[in-house]
Symmetry: C2
Subunit: 299 residues, 2 copies
């Protein structure tokens, strides 16, 4: 199989895992369950659960202990999109070519659907303790829950979202603040994916820290590449208007550092990340290709 | 000490526990941390953490394992208030005599503050695994996390909130639906309090189920008493307008069953609940008085 075929089989597998943990649409609370499933099943690359499983396999993980965490991370990613799209936040009416959750179900129900997904994520990982077969596996599971909550919360993704909102309301943008936003809004859930996969597979502290660093690099490089494409690409290639950052006077890595330095930074970050991923006993060619495709993408 | 003095010392203790787990207001995400603390520190009776600790003590629980769960349950209660008050939901501008979170911080930040509290609740209970001293305590901790997620989520509080919103938009109100809403919107977090306290203290399955039943009764009786007072009390005693249910053509237990049957139901439910609480080897006079005061209150 070539890369694209492998990737689409991984997406299919991630969606099968996810569906195991999504609610049946029944009972007096049916509406919120429909809204939750609508949000999660809207498609997407299932990048985070796939990265988590690849990390789990990289460190020799076996069995299904990683599955509830794969589902939970994708639920958390999707709840954050549902809440981000709300009129109270970004007021977006479309995502992935479909109407956003609040446009279909109303904003009250969309608030609840997001809450429902976040809560279900933790309900799902709590069920993983029943799968843990030893005290050691229970400890790993507990450690993985801590990482998930930390990277998704106020010292992770939610922290980044807050700083992003603040930056939009007049707080002066600095290089430090921009990196904080990228690290927490984008890199944090990729870090959760890599770290949880490694922890559940029994990787040692040094390896988990190395995977955290690799995920940081990937998240930041991904964001800088986004900013570069906004300047260098065309609407035809990208499928969305280019030059929007400049029009909106938005400070990005490119406006702060220039195009050349930005390109060099992407190269440096991705070289380091791939070096880390290639440094373990097992190597996953698929994982390395996937990471490379994320960073060097042209759209 | 009399009941009121004991209660106020319990409130103080619950708030000290809570403060241990609330965030320091610093960093680029300072605003959301401020909004979270504003919401949680607005006061309130701290009923749920107090009930949890009483249940823990009732079954001989020792040490601090219950504390992160006390804090987490209060965070969850408060996140639900922050989201309920949003313009997208109930559009309330005041709560406990203070402006609601969204009125102070804006509705985008209030969405995030609620998300932050829900996430922090699970981050907090995840830290409890570090306190567990044996495999048995780890299992109890895992069981307690499952109960918390279940009672707070789509098969608990969020489910009740969804049904309540639906009932307000034309779905026909039936006795069954009304009980579903009360059970999930109100009783579920009280059940979490009682059950988690019991589980962490090592109570057996039968005792945990009995505590779940007692909490169900308390939650439902509390709600019916609310409906009764709306008919029988005066604005002077209640501190809010009475007769609002009738004016809003709201179907309540009283409109469905009449005043006499409703009063009898409150008596029956509370008698059963107090019978359960008095049936264990230890008895807590404070807990029994607290439960009695909740149900038989005149305001």
């Amino acid at each position: 199989m070539n890369f694209d075929e492998i990737q689409s089989s991984k997406v299919k597998h991630a969606e099968e895992v996810l569906k195991k943990y999504l609610p049946r649409e029944q009972g007096f609370q049916k509406k919120v369950l429909e809204a939750m499933n609508y949000s999660v099943m809207a498609g997407g690359k299932r990048l985070r659960p796939i990265l988590m499983e690849e990390s789990y396999l990289l460190f020799g993980g076996k069995g299904e202990l990683v599955e509830p965490f794969m589902a939970a991370l994708e639920m958390i990613h999707n709840y954050s999109l549902v809440h981000d799209d709300l009129p109270a936040m970004d007021n977006d009416e479309y995502r992935r070519g479909r109407k956003t959750t609040w446009k279909i179900y109303g904003d009250g129900m969309a608030v609840l659907a997001g809450d429902g997904l976040l809560n279900l994520a933790f309900e799902t990982v709590a069920s993983a303790f029943d799968m843990a077969e030893s005290r050691e596996e229970m400890k790993r599971t507990a450690q993985a829950v801590k990482i998930l909550a930390n990277k998704a919360g106020i010292y992770g993704m939610i922290g980044g979202q807050c700083a992003d909102i603040e930056a939009g309301t007049g707080q002066e943008m600095t290089k430090e603040l921009l990196l904080f936003i990228h690290e927490n809004k984008t890199a944090a859930l990729i870090q959760a994916a890599f770290m949880i996969g490694a922890v559940l597979a029994g990787a040692d502290k040094e390896a988990v820290a190395a995977m955290e660093k690799a995920a940081y690099n990937i998240g930041i490089a991904f964001q800088i590449q986004d900013d570069i494409l906004d300047v260098t690409s065309s609407k035809e290639v990208l499928g969305k208007p280019v030059g929007s950052d400049e029009r909106n006077h938005k400070l990005t890595y490119v406006t702060l550092h220039g195009l050349e330095e930005s390109r060099e930074e992407v190269r440096k970050l991705s070289r380091e990340a791939l070096h880390i991923l290639g440094s373990f006993e097992n190597r996953s060619r698929f994982l390395e290709e996937l990471v490379n495709s994320l960073i060097t993408r042209e759209k």
